[in-house]
Amino acid sequence: MSHSVELSGIGMTFGTTRAVADVNFKVEAGEFFSILGPSGCGKTTILRMIAGFIHPTEGRVLIGGEDMAGRGPNQRPTAMIFQSLALFPLMPVWENIAFGLEARGVGKAERRRKADDLLRLIALEGYGDRMPGELSGGQRQRVAIARALAVEPGVLLLDEPLSALDLKLRQHMRAELRALQKRTGVTFIYITHDQSEALAMSDRVAVMSAGVLQQVATPRELYENPATPFVARFVGETNAIKGRAVASEGGIVTLDTPLGSLRGRGSVAAGQGATLFVRPEALIPGGGALTAQIDRVDFEGAFALVHGRLGDGSALTASVGSTDLAHAPEPGAQASFGFAPEHAVVLADA
């Protein structure tokens, strides 16, 4: 049984600090939904409001269509996985997993049976009598997930649970989490500051900055059509070129910049200050509007990143596929890059 989660005009003020302002979005039942943003953007505050640890100063939280006002964390159909995992170190693994059942008055034999089932689900069969301290980071991670799933929550809330793991394990756990979500069908709300994590796992992503919701979209939409300059810069690599809109026609804006006239998708009224964003992979070396002095070329395996400096001194990054490496510019050389207007986005400056 999974639940939808709806935030309606939600806001949170701590003393004089406004941590979250007027956030609205709806997570569908069974969705893998991420909230992405830099630290301090209010994403953890939102998660804690959904869990019921704190109560919003404005707006409402609805879970499964029901208003959660006045309900504590133990009265909501949510379960949370904490950043530190917060396993109980003095209880063996199986008691950790069965703690929620214990709190619901389930008998010991039944608890043990349920715990063993879940241990099988997370591929830790036979680990029930170990102490959490005897497990590896990845195993502890899985125990925390099993503990949360034991209470059969409608919504699973995950607060950057992978941040303590090393890169390899993190990538492995991503796939595992995603598979687990598909298998259980539980709504996942996942908090992270790591955009690649959010893009790789989620059905949809909400991007937050300074307590304000920037955009809610599918990962692809977010990457291709960022709604705000913040999203354009925060999600993925990009090159930003400031200018002023001089014409807007058929969804293509012409921008007057110190580097010349550039064109990209958007809807900005003529005369307004705007910025053009173009992804490194959209830049094609050899002939084009942007001429740069190449500083260095970083070989990354599947592609190489070409770092250079534009005429006005701002940085430029272009990526070149490994198979095209023969055509990549050399460090120290001058090179020009072009891009198709439909591969660039123009957004009005705030």
């Binding site: 133990n74 530190s84 917060a86 109980f88 703690f99 709190a103």
Partner: protein
Amino acid sequence: MRDLYARFGGGLATVFLTLVLLWVAAMIVAPNLMMLDYALRPNLPPAELGGPRDVRSLDNIMYLANEATHRAIFFKTVWASALVASVTLVVCYPIAYWLAQNATPRQLGIALLLLIIPFFINEVLRTLAWFILLAFRGPLNAVLQWAGMIDRPVRWQGDGGVLAGMVYAYILFMLLPIYNAIESLEKAQIDAARDLGAKPWRIHWRVVIPHAKAGIATGCVFTFMLAAGSYVAPALLGSPGSRWFTEVIYNWFFEGGDWNRGAAYALVLLALCLAVVLVTLRLFRVNLADVAK
């Protein structure tokens, strides 16, 4: 030991070790050996010291075993000290929990200051303050009568007075170890337990108390020992019916003039305290090294 020598060099390390050994020998070992010796010898006039009757025996200890009143006072002191420790625990645990997990730094500062200020005053004076508060014509009776809760003054002094005075006197010895223990508990664990649906009592029983076990054991052991060895509170706040074992020991020394029997009594009290401490630690599955921290 090797660390000590490596850090401070041979000369200074030897000085430190010598000082520690001197302290242990002069302040701990020697007095206790003297007490043991006193306890085993009979109380004799100076002329007979070293004479044929000056032999070691268990007579002084057997005297306590056969003296019904003293024996009763002894056991009463033991269980009453345990009661003091339990009541202090019940009073301190919620305060310690609140201070460690919920209080803002400002609230913590104010609360600790309020708790510590009374300890700037001598224990005797603090106990005297309770003596005045609990007096038959004192403020407590006056307030309760004025509020209509009692219609005639109550004689608080006696077992109740001793309990109140001791709980008050030993609050910090219980509070600080428990506070320290709970303070180190990660807040997310309490959140996790709540999130999984646990009610407050289960969170305390399953998460907080197991974590704070060493602190609780330390506080109980401290409070028990201090209570069992306390003299001022029972002397000032007690009544003839609530005599404490320390008062009996005092009487042997300073009124009975029988230091040997007094030493024997003190030795029994010491042995009992040690036994209680070790049993408590065993029950809590905490070792002495944890308590020392």
